[in-house]
């Protein structure tokens, strides 16, 4: 009997489950990468992993530190240049799911990964956009993975790096986006989904032992909560075992 799952482990397992049935997934480094590799191990062995670095169908056995790790190219079905990756694969919406992280998330799942404070007088300068704006616009659906804190879930982004659902219904259509946008925000406390009408993020699922009030306290705006709140199925021994083995290998 293995030790109880940490909230971070639960977050990763829930993210992996979100890839059941997906054909392809676009991922960066960190927790999203761990979740996608876990998904291939436990729920979707045929899942095609696509990395910004140009590796299509990579089959890593360990969690890469960088999207450029040699193992990704060595195990990929195809390796393409960055220009082809964005123009032929992301822009036309060939990828089913994109996993994205961010430093700030607002109620419409718009994301900031550029700067905290003013752009010209930053309190904290973040790495910047990378591929996120076009990935979020082009991929069929987006899953955001972020730690649930008031610093992350904010009323107002300091900088809009990436459009989720913009200012609500019809925003993505007006911008001519190919993809449908965020379908879930998976945190260490639970899962938020955009309301079908208003597009506003709504708490629909909480991890075992988490109180809805705690989620509200960790959210920087008046959080909408679904009438029937699902409780996260705890990670199975298989899921947890595979995750811990994967992390240990890393």
């Amino acid at each position: 009997m293995s030790a109880a799952a940490t909230s971070g482990e639960i977050q990763t397992v829930v993210a992996a489950r979100a890839l059941a049935g997906a054909g392809s997934c676009f991922i960066g480094v960190g927790r999203p990468s761990t979740a996608a590799i876990l998904a291939r191990a436990v729920v979707n062995p045929e899942l095609v992993l696509v990395y910004e670095s140009g590796t299509i169908g990579a089959k890593p056995q360990r969690v890469p530190l960088s999207i450029g790790d040699g193992e990704l190219a060595a195990t990929a079905d195809a390796v393409v240049g960055v220009i082809e990756m964005f123009n032929y694969w992301i822009q036309p919406g060939r990828i089913d799911v994109a996993f994205l992280g961010a430093a700030q998330v607002d109620r419409y799942a718009n994301l900031n990964s550029t700067v905290i404070g003013q752009y010209d007088a930053p309190r904290t300068r973040l790495p910047g956009a990378g591929g996120a704006p076009e990935i979020a616009a082009g991929c069929d659906r987006v899953v955001v993975i972020a730690p649930h804190t008031p610093r992350t879930f904010v009323e107002q982004l300091d900088f809009r790096t990436t459009v989720g659902h913009g200012d609500g219904p019809g925003a993505r259509e007006r911008l001519g986006f190919r993809g449908g946008g965020p379908v879930a925000v998976i945190t260490d406390l639970g899962v938020l989904e955009p309301d079908p009408e208003t597009r506003e993020l709504t708490l629909v699922q909480i991890h075992a032992g988490v109180e809805p009030g705690a989620v509200q306290d960790a959210t920087g705006w008046r959080l909408r909560i679904a009438p029937e709140l699902r409780v996260t199925e705890p990670p199975t021994d298989t899921e947890l075992g595979a995750l811990r083995e994967l992390v240990a290998r890393g």
């Binding site: 480094v29 960190g30 910004e52 670095s53 140009g54 590796t55 890469p64 530190l65 960088s66 999207i67 450029g68 790790d69 040699g70 990704l72 190219a73 390796v79 393409v80 240049g81 960055v82 220009i83 990756m85 964005f86 123009n87 992301i90 822009q91 550029t114 752009y119 930053p122 309190r123 904290t124 300068r125 973040l126 790495p127 910047g128 956009a129 990378g130 591929g131 996120a132 704006p133 076009e134 616009a137 082009g138 900088f159 809009r160 790096t161 990436t162 459009v163 913009g166 925003a171 911008l175 001519g176 986006f177 190919r178």
Partner: protein, 273 residues
């Protein structure tokens, strides 16, 4: 046909103060040895162009070589912040740094336009974001459908520097593994320098290889291990521990400066540091 010359000679001949310099390599084949030689030669006032500044530009920025940075992702991949980049942007140390900031898709297409001798490229990008306020992005209308698309200006560096696994004696270059945007960056530039792990009599074609004919390259210099702590697929390994250590080395100004003094400024090009 490219000249095969010593790295210090090549850098002295091709890189001048004030140049717009692109050192490319998307998480792979990053030309550290050449960048360090640029540092040792005391180049200043450079406009540094690179999709992912990475540790190399963190070092050049921290040592005060850069006037401006043109980029799309300024992080330490998988580790976190680039502290010298942050210090320059947040506190202007050691000097203020002008930013021209794009998305990866925008930067990649800017290189493609530059390599194609087109003044701009079109893409589905930037829509609805705050990026256009800080980057040159315009809107063009499709003459056939009326649809509006983003336009970004071509990138044509004064000089592009890349690293590859090998070259033959006529300067034909072969690189393989993650290809990034190196070929476009070389073709888009007025001048180019390629450092290689080795020079061979004949290039044996490799799966997934990109070949850059020697007649579009100005100089090739031999720099074994010249991508460290990045890597040359099939020849060297990425030093992930160094990328983690850099988070500590670079956090404090004095630690950073001391490390650079010892490991870069006092080292020689031959050492490949």
């Amino acid at each position: 046909m490219a000249d095969i010359v010593e790295l210090p000679e090549a850098v002295a001949a091709l890189v001048a103060d004030g140049d717009r310099v692109a050192m490319e390599g998307f998480t792979h084949l990053i030309p550290f040895a050449a960048g360090h030689e640029v540092l040792r030669q005391g180049r200043r006032d450079l406009e540094l162009i690179r999709m992912t500044p990475d540790l190399l530009y963190d070092q050049l920025i921290g040592m005060g070589c850069a006037r401006k940075l043109v980029f799309s992702y300024g992080g330490n991949p998988g580790v976190g912040s680039l502290h010298r980049f942050r210090d320059a942007v947040e506190h202007g140390w050691p000097a203020p740094l002008e930013l021209e900031e794009h998305s990866h898709a925008g930067m990649a297409n800017r290189y493609a336009a530059g390599a194609s001798d087109l003044p701009f490229a079109i893409l589905r990008g930037y829509a609805g974001t705050d990026l256009p306020a800080h980057a040159q992005v315009a809107v063009v209308t499709c003459p056939f459908t009326g649809e509006e698309l983003a336009a970004v200006p071509a990138l044509n560096p004064d000089v592009t520097i890349v690293h590859a696994q090998e070259a033959d004696r006529r300067g034909n270059v072969q690189l393989w593994g993650i290809p990034g945007v190196q070929k476009e960056a070389v073709l888009a530039a007025s001048r180019s320098l390629v450092t290689v792990e080795r020079v061979v009599d004949e290039l044996v074609p490799r799966p997934g290889a990109v070949v850059i004919p020697g007649w579009v390259v100005d100089a090739v210099s031999v720099a074994p291990g010249g991508a460290f702590p990045s890597y040359a697929h099939g020849v060297t390994e990425r030093d992930n521990d160094f990328y983690k250590q850099w988070d500590v080395i670079s956090r404090k100004r004095e630690d950073f400066t001391a490390w650079m003094e010892e490991h870069v400024l006092r080292a020689s090009a031959k050492a490949g540091a």
